[in-house]
Assembly symmetry: C2
């Protein structure tokens, strides 16, 4: 199987049709119709074997994750994902592996309505770069820059599950809680509907990829403010509580990373509006603290004293 067979036999049949794709895979580039009047969002994320996922991870999960981590960045901007490219570097052309990988990738793309429109396949150590182009109405994109002292800090879903799941994966999890946690690593959910619901409401937003405190730190730095986060309010799943001791739960939730939940700030005066916007949706969010003047993100216990968690977020280098 060569590159062209790979494209025509394996990739092309899985590609979703979209009316805004004038020309998809198979030319020098893709030709697309942008939504009139909207701003474009461009995101790119690379996964390297043994760095971002274990080599033993099933190929369909690798594909799903490669799509989901990028979809999550679109969600964090409040955007609607439209088109993706895949730059896939593989050690050898293994059709079974590739087909399984693509099944996972296309599952995530289909859930989000995304069409794969191009990319590149090359030979080398397993490295996957997905890029997604999306859009958002002008002026409504969520950024990391608008948090103000007094704003409330929220996070979606539960935290620490994926980091616990990654540890448990190596042991081939047998019980239900461990399996659920492992799935949180293997199949992260990009919070696209939540991101769209936060347009015009959240003052800043980011997705939790490196770890809650590290990612909130980006909002704090770029907004020129600080944050106080209540350790007791970090949302933990029952599965995480069953699998880990309390101190470990806190460390994973605060610094574990790979959650792909959204962390965001909302002006306190708009709390009711936020609750109304999310009522009747499946989006669960938890208020975990407040934006304060100054700088830095401080985790505090029930008495208001600072806690230093074990780690401070994933570092790529």
């Amino acid at each position: 199987m060569n590159e062209f067979q790979f494209i025509y036999d394996l990739i092309a049949p899985g590609v979703r049709a979209r009316s805004d794709v004038l020309l998809g895979i198979g030319d020098d580039g893709a030709l697309l119709t942008p939504p009139p009047g909207e701003s474009l969002i461009v995101v790119a994320d690379t996964l390297v074997v043994e760095r971002h996922f274990p080599a033993t991870l099933p190929a369909d999960d690798i594909g799903y994750r490669a799509a989901a981590t990028n979809l999550s960045d679109i969600a964090a901007m409040g955007g609607e994902p439209r088109w993706a490219t895949l730059a896939l570097t593989m050690p050898e052309m293994n059709a079974v592996w590739a087909q399984t990988f693509l099944r996972g990738l296309f599952t995530a793309f289909d859930e989000a309505g995304v069409a794969l429109v191009g990319g590149d396949t090359t030979r080398g150590p397993l490295t996957i770069t997905v890029q997604i182009v999306g859009s958002v109405p002008p002026g409504l994109a969520l950024t990391r820059r608008g948090a103000q002292p007094g704003d409330l800090v929220y996070v979606s879903g539960t935290l620490g599950d994926a980091a616990a799941g990654l540890r448990l994966l190596a042991a081939a999890p047998a019980d239900t809680a461990a399996q659920w946690l492992a799935q949180r690593f293997c199949r992260p959910s990009a919070r696209l509907a939540l991101g769209r619901a936060l347009r015009g409401l959240a003052s800043a937003c980011i997705d939790v990829s490196d770890g809650l405190l590290a990612d909130l730190g980006h909002i704090a730095t770029q907004s020129g403010c600080g944050m106080r986060i209540d350790a007791d309010r970090l949302p933990l799943s029952d599965s995480l509580r069953r699998a880990c001791a309390p101190a470990e739960c806190l460390s994973l939730a605060a610094s574990g990373g790979d959650d792909y939940e959204l962390a965001f700030t909302v002006p306190a005066a708009r709390r009711a509006e936020l609750e109304a916007a999310l009522a009747g949706t499946a989006e669960a969010v938890t208020c975990i603290g407040q934006v304060v003047a100054g700088e830095g993100v401080v985790l505090v216990d029930g008495t208001g004293l600072p806690i230093t968690p074990a780690a401070t977020g994933y570092r790529h280098f």
Copy 2:
């Protein structure tokens, strides 16, 4: 140096300002204003060390090539490049190497007016994926699909130089001809102005990356036709003629790859129009054959007899 220092200290200062970039590097995604009414072009290209370039290639040349191979894809679509992302996987965070790499990358981006708006840096074996988003007025994109029997086949510049240059690189070229050939590999020129000039004129277009015959084969297949290419008319540089024997020149020109020239077809009736469009520009093009009914690309000698060149184009797998 960590990822954030890399971004803020090394990348940010080199980024070109563009008024259509609302938000560049440093958030979950970039926020961009597409040109009203135009179609978007998205291209992506990956370079893997020892696969697409020797590990000994100077870092600034690696950066320049990574940008130029993508710009060439935009040129082949007749597009105007606008925004780029860089997914850079490096074995270690070497600030000197990275700075040199970025100097080459930004040189190519600056020549084309492109702003780097995002990407990802990860640790792993050296792999570089650049993606560029550009635009083209609706209906004017050049594709591989429109060639018709009777059309003339053209190519820009000269062929085989880069493939010869790659071979000569290993020997640290001393004479002028060899150095010029090596530069053709290290610093390919994306034919952006030519691509734009061909809008509405060329019936099909592709950039020569895998080798002339292989790339013309894509036009032939996708247009449902064949081609006859005259070996005697392939444009060869004086440097190539000086460095290689005639048979080797032909083989490199027909199948060498890495030229990043444009190969295109034009209806015979529009030959004068093409010449008028290119008069007064620096773009040199050569008519090298004709589109015929049937299928396949045949290279013929001065008597019209088919020649089989040594190789049939770069295969990624």
